[in-house]
Each structure stands twice: as C-alpha cells, then as structure tokens.
Symmetry: C4
Subunit: 277 residues, 4 copies
Amino acid sequence: MGSFQGHTLPGSLFLLAGIWWTGKYSLWHATRRNKSLGSTRFASRTSQRRVEILESSLVLFLSFVGMVCEQFAANGPKLHLYDFAEKHWEQLHIWQHTTMYLFFSLAAIVSLIIHTTEAAPVALDRLMLAIAFFNEGFLFLYHLHGRAMLDVHVHQLLLYAVFGGGLVSFLEVFHRGNIILELLRCTLTILQGTWFWEIGFVLYPPSGTEWNLTDHNTMMFVTMCYSWHLTIAMLVVGVLYCTVSCVVRSRLKRTPPMEMGLLKPREHDAESEDEVF
Amino acid sequence: MGSFQGHTLPGSLFLLAGIWWTGKYSLWHATRRNKSLGSTRFASRTSQRRVEILESSLVLFLSFVGMVCEQFAANGPKLHLYDFAEKHWEQLHIWQHTTMYLFFSLAAIVSLIIHTTEAAPVALDRLMLAIAFFNEGFLFLYHLHGRAMLDVHVHQLLLYAVFGGGLVSFLEVFHRGNIILELLRCTLTILQGTWFWEIGFVLYPPSGTEWNLTDHNTMMFVTMCYSWHLTIAMLVVGVLYCTVSCVVRSRLKRTPPMEMGLLKPREHDAESEDEVF
Amino acid sequence: MGSFQGHTLPGSLFLLAGIWWTGKYSLWHATRRNKSLGSTRFASRTSQRRVEILESSLVLFLSFVGMVCEQFAANGPKLHLYDFAEKHWEQLHIWQHTTMYLFFSLAAIVSLIIHTTEAAPVALDRLMLAIAFFNEGFLFLYHLHGRAMLDVHVHQLLLYAVFGGGLVSFLEVFHRGNIILELLRCTLTILQGTWFWEIGFVLYPPSGTEWNLTDHNTMMFVTMCYSWHLTIAMLVVGVLYCTVSCVVRSRLKRTPPMEMGLLKPREHDAESEDEVF
Amino acid sequence: MGSFQGHTLPGSLFLLAGIWWTGKYSLWHATRRNKSLGSTRFASRTSQRRVEILESSLVLFLSFVGMVCEQFAANGPKLHLYDFAEKHWEQLHIWQHTTMYLFFSLAAIVSLIIHTTEAAPVALDRLMLAIAFFNEGFLFLYHLHGRAMLDVHVHQLLLYAVFGGGLVSFLEVFHRGNIILELLRCTLTILQGTWFWEIGFVLYPPSGTEWNLTDHNTMMFVTMCYSWHLTIAMLVVGVLYCTVSCVVRSRLKRTPPMEMGLLKPREHDAESEDEVF
C-alpha cells in the first residue's frame, strides 16, 4: 500500500463492516430471545433475507469499485501484469490488493446466490467469508519480506485479527447463529479496522515526526497498543449489543403485540436460550 | 520428480479426482434434497455403493500402475533400495513417490472392504484418505532440503492444499455427508491438481525460457498466482455443483415419480436441510 | 517484573484462584450428581449465582488494586506513558502488567453483568476469560527479547500453562459445565501459580546463590521441574475433588432430604452422568 | 537413554500396549455390533470393568518397576538429583525417564480409581492418558539440544506418534467409544513402539556398522522409513480387528443365545452403528 490513505481506507471499511455486523446480529439475537413478546415484527425471516441481500450487494459493489480504483488509479498497473520490455513485474502490491478484493467479492456473490435462490446450503456464506479472510492473511504473510522490523511487526499483529476472523467464520459453518461467535467475529473485524488506522499512523505519520522503526521499546509499546485496540473493539461491541437489546425490549414493552393468546412465559424462553449457548 | 511430465501426471490425476468427486457429491446432495420428488431413482443406496466400489477399484488400479511405472521405468530403481557396492541410496525420490502411491492404494483397499462387506465402520474411508494426504504432505515436507528458493516456495504452497485436504477429510470422519466439507475437499483437490501443473510450468518450462528462481518479485507473483488457482478451483466446483443441481431438478419435474401418495411437502424438506448445514 | 515479589504476588493469586475454582466446581458437580439425595440444599441456582457475583466482584477489586499499585508504586510510571523530554517510553513492563490486569478486570465486569442481569448469554464469561488468558500469553510472548537463555526458557514454559488455560476456557464456551474441562482449567491455573513462584526462585533467588543462566543442564532440569509442578497441580486438584465429593456424600447420608417422594433411583442418575462426560 | 536396550525396552512395551488395546477395543466393538446375537456373553459390563482394572494394575506395576530400575541400576542416580560437591546435575536423562514413567503410573492410578469406585467421571482416564503422552513428547522436545542431525531427526519423527497419540486421546474425552479414534490411537502406539526399535537400530546398531549421521540422503530414507512403519502399524491393527470380528461372529453363529425372544433385527442394529460413526 505504501501510503497513509492506503491503510486508512480498508481500515474504515472493516471498521464499518464490524459495527454494522454487531448491530445486525444484536438485533436478530434480541429478536430471537423475545419471540414471545412479538419481536418478530422487527426482524422477520423475509426482512432478514432482504438485509442479507442488500449487504451482499453493497460488499460486491465496494469490492468492484476497489478493484477498479486500484487498477486504474494514476499510477496503477491498468491490468498489465508483466513488463516484457524491461522484464519486471508491474506493481505486484496493487495486484495483491486486487486479489484480496476479488475474494471478498466472490464471498458476496455466493451470499447473493444463497439468499436469492435456494440452490446452495446457507452455511456456504460463512465458508466463503473464512476463505476470504484466510486469503487476505495468506497474501499479507508473504508480503513482508525485507522490510524494517517495526513494519513487519505491525503487519504480523494484523494477521492475528485476520486469521482469527477466518477461524471464527469457519467455526460458524458448524455453529451457525451462535451469538458468541458472531460477536467475536465482529470484535476481530473492528480490531482489524482500527489496527489498519494504527499502521497508517505508525508507518506514515501525517504529523511528520517519524517513528523509530528499529527501537525494541517501540515494538513493545506497539504490542501493548494492540491489546488496547482489542479492549476498545470489545467495548464498542459490548455497548452496541446492550443498546440494541435495551431498545428492542423497551419498544416491545410499550407496544404489546396483537396476538396475546400465543404468549409463552418469557422466563422459560430466556432459560432455554442460556442453555443453548 | 524432476521433470515436466513428473508433475503434470499427478496433477492431472488429482484434477480428475476433484472434478469426479464434485460431480458425485453434488448428485448425491441433490438426490437427498429432492427425495420427495422421487429423486432416489438417480442415486439409490445400492447404486451409491456400486459407484464407491468402482471408484475404489480404479484408484487401486491407478496407484498400482503408478508404483510399477515409477519402479520399472528406464531409470527406475527396480525395487533396489541401497547400492551396497557404491554405498549410496538408490533414487530415494522415486521410492518416496512409490510410498505416496502406496498410501492411496491402501485407502482404496480399505474403501473396497468397507463397501463390499460390512466388516468395518464406514467413516474409516475418510480417515484413510486423511492419512494418505497427511503422508503425502509429510514426505514433501522433508523433500525440499537444499533446493532453490522458488523451488522450495512452490512446493510449500502445494502443502497448504495437501494438508488442507487431509484436515477436511479428518473432519469428515465426524461430520460425514456434510456437503460443505465435501465441496471444500473437492476444491482443495482440484487446487492441488492445477498447482502441480503450475509447478511443472515454473520449474521445467516447456517453452524453454527459464524463470528466475531467486527473484523476490517472482516469489510474490507465484504466491498471488496460488490465490488465483484457488479462485479457479472454486469456480469449477461452483459451476459443476449448480449444473448438477439444475439437471436433477429439471429431470425430476419432467418425469414425476410413480408413488405420488408418498409425497411430502417440498418446502419443509428444504427447510430442515438448511438448518442442518 | 524484575523482582522476587513481582513474580510471587501474581503466582499466589493464580494459585488461590485455581484452588478456589477446584472447590467450587467440585461442589457443584457433586451437587448435580447427587440431586436425588436432595443435594440442591448445598448449591441451589440462587446460591450459585450469588457465589459467581461475589467471585467476580473480588476479581474486579483485586485487578483494580493491582493496576493502581503497579502505576503508583514508588518507582511506577504514574500513568505517564512517554517521556517527551528524554524521548523514551516510561517503564513499559509496568504498563504491560497494567494491561494484563485490565483484561482480567474486563472479564470480571462481564461476568458481573451476566450474573446480575440477563442481558447477555452466559457463555460469554468463559470467552472473556479465554481472551484474558490469551492476552496475558500474547504480552509475555513479545516480552522476552534479549534476555538470558534460562530467563526466556522459564517464561516460555509459563506460556504452555497460560495458553492451555485460554484454550480450555474457549472450549468451555461450547462444552459448558463439563467437569473434565473445568478441572483441567483449575490444574493449569494452579500450575501457572506455582510456576510463577518457581520463576521467582530461579531468577531472583532469595538465598542469594545465583543460578547459572546459560548452562544447558540447568535448562533440562527446569523443563523436568515443570512436569513435576504439573504433577503437584494434578494431585492438589485430585485430592480437593475427592474430599469435596466425600464430604457432600457423607453429609447427605446423615441428613436425608425432606421430600422423599421426589427421590429418583440413584443408580440411573450416576449412569447418565457417566455417559455425558 | 543412550543404549540399544534403552530404546528397545520402551519400544516393546508400547508395541505390546498397542496390540493389546487393538484386541480389546475390537472385541468390545464387535460385542456392541452383535448385541442382538447375544454377544454380551463375551464382554459384559462387569467383565469390561474387570479387564480395565487388570490393565491399569499392570501398567502401574510396570511403571513402578521401570522407575525403580532406572534409578537403582548400576549407574543410576539412586534418587540423588544434584551433586553439591562437584556442582553438576546427576544424570538428568534418567530423571526424565523416571518422570515419564511417573505420568503413566498416575494415569493408571486414576484409571484404577475410576473403575473400582464411582468417584470420578470415566472420561478422566483418557485425559490422563493424553497428559501422559503430551508430557512424554514435551520432555523429548527439550531433550535433543546439541545432538547430531540424524539423532535429532529420528527423535522428532517419534514426536509425531507421541503427540498424535496425545491428541487422539484428548479427542476421545469428547467422543468416547468411537472405534475409529480408538483404532487410530492403537496404530499410533504401535508406530511409537516399532519406531523406538528403529531408533535403537539406527543410533546403536547391534551389527556394529555405524550409520552416517550427517548424510542428507540417510535422513530422507529415514523419513520414508517412518511412513513404512505407519503402514505396518495400520496393517497389524487392520488384521487384528478383522480377525477378532470374524471370530466373534463365527462363535455367535455356532452357539445361538438362549433368550431368542429378545432378538432385535440385526439389520437395523448395523445401520444405526453406521450412522453414528
């Protein structure tokens, strides 16, 4: 990437994705927990499907824009891969970013197919997401050869969030709808987003004062900083989850559902919920 | 292996195996999903078993041919392992390939026994497949000492597909019949096949223009190329799966089954399917 | 840390936590096994919840005290992170310890929220505990650069207990209430505690006779010593578990429960218990 | 160990353990599969428990003998750990072996307690076995510093079998009675046994002709040899399993059970068996 904007742009996208997912899964979980209060008004099966389709379309659109921008920007490779005249590869870094976008767009396409038709098993969207994350981490892993120590280190820390997200997505193939795994994935995605920003600030400081890229103490500080980012990500997810839960509950209490006859005792419902997770 | 053909031959075999498996599992999955439409005509229990026996026999035959060819080819070791006169090992590379074939033939024998008799638990065939993949990866792992950087790198990338295939097979011991795992294994097998071809083209280019085996940019390109191979493998599996599903469905609609009285509502069937996976 | 007390203090805390947990889980397991004998007198749902709240409050209090002490001790950084005058980081080691305490206090807060309200799924407390352990191990991992061989080695051995504890906690998210995993976590926590003491004795011997930090034989002895600590931890957990089981059983026999009519045959109960675990 | 006998003795013990386990689990599995034919005559619950107690007692006895022999042999450390006069550790290798025996004896003691009383959950015996294997591998891992390349390599290969056995035992905590995992554990134990013999022959050849410990080709041969040992182990387990199955079935057919009225249709039983595994 090699620029401040080159790191903050994907950072912002992952940050937004993490926050959006937290809201979505919190709402759906609150809906499931309060079924007896008629909460399905907020998130019926049909509306859930519609949300998934919208989300996938947006991801597909953004990935496509990302690929086009990377390739046709002022100094982009414009789809040329090898310069036969001077015998060198054309800006492989940009090609790698294009490949990362490609995998996320594939995941979005599969998700679209799953939620518009009934052709494929639904768990496939999590598998594709896991593959997209693993591919991102895999390309970063072989991306770091010959850089300064701190540069390598901040990107290695990023890999924890990336591979963690991939692993959690893969676990969701088998434990779909487990709110704990969903929130963990949200947390790791937000962490990835904020850490991209951190990388931008450390390697390309907009203030101009360069960091010492070889000081061991700076490395130790950066490591600890990663823990703080994780704390912040957990706080953001926690606050969002609680807010959504409270809003859903208070709304339900103000406007009781029509079909009172179908009301099951709330106590029992919450209990079974607890035992499942 | 040390030759272009030495890499493209196993590559073609894995490629064919992956495509064949994709077709087989797609057909069986479509059969299970459309049971109510009388789809069991296409893949009854008995016919499934017959297919498995045929497949295992073919694998056994090919492994055996492979072992014999490797050993008794013009410059093969002809079952000699150690040259006591000159005190050196006889072509260990070929012996290693023989060992890899041996494990796949063992997996085929076990699969034959399982599907002809009822002596052993069926999940054993996946365990044997996992062991065959792990053994292949294990031998490759200790195979690479003292080669050029790019040579080592392309073989290491191969290991991701090999060990990935082994791990997925092992998971299938516990989640047998999970279409997502089955398709993932198909994808990784096709990836392994196409990557064997890629290795052949990179290390022994038939066009004659040698690749620079120590350029770091070439390594980065090759890494990215691996992601593209994975994309292609996923596309192949996806297209095949959809084609088979559509064909099964359209056939079922044209020729409704005899026993209409046994028809269960299709809606419910698809639903439960979705929840399982 | 850099001092004898700096290692024995956390060691004592983990040791106490491990012993406390062993007692708690043994009591609850004995209660579940002997339900038919009216054992719920000892640990009803309400009392269990009260114990969890007390435990979480204590952990929160101790973590908070730990953070304050580390920061405002005689030579602490007093919340200063960077000395802009002399351009160096302020005692990063102490900041790292503060971060570790922070994660355990977060886990305690989440546990408090879970057990006082019903806002969140209960399994979240194990996830937070797992994250706290992983964070501790993660900070230790990047903590060891440039130290003597034995110093690095004893801390690496500590990581087995730390990451092991994190992994077992994560497994408990999916297998909550599995007594085997619970006792394993207790064992690893006690091991961590006693090993902190060992590190204190090896690196800062109170007797004054320094250990040879670069002798390979000493390293081998220390490795073996780790196994012995594990043995002792297993013995402590085993003896505690048996004692609690026996006390619960003997008490139950002396004072039979009131509601004899609800008595289910004990045999059957123990049997089902055995099959679950 | 440092001698031919020092490797072949544990090798023989593991070999015998693996063969014994194969027979035991094969018999019990055949018993479960043929319940309808009255097979419980061969292995009733009571007799199974008696076998477990006998096995555990034998393991305990052998471990104890092993510990005593290692310590009090001609050149053993006789329970001395540190020579304060000359300031060096007393034969740490022998102490390490004593520690390994100690963990297996602990596993045996726990197994005895579980099968004589009902104090502890039964899955604990697999956990203790897993810990014993992990401890063995852990001590070997830090055992190899400063040896010749081939010496390190053959011991590293051993670790695959040791850690593999530990991992499979740990999985059995959650999947108890899964015949596939049980046979896999048997295979890995037999592999460990035969590989100990191989190490003895390679490092201390009784014929006197020394192996070249630094030749890369020898290393590649040894790696391949490991695969062949695995093949042999799988063959032994396979043949034993089939033999036991056949003997049980033929015996059942000759002497039909008394209580014909309790006969359930065999077909159905085998079916459910297949679905479980």
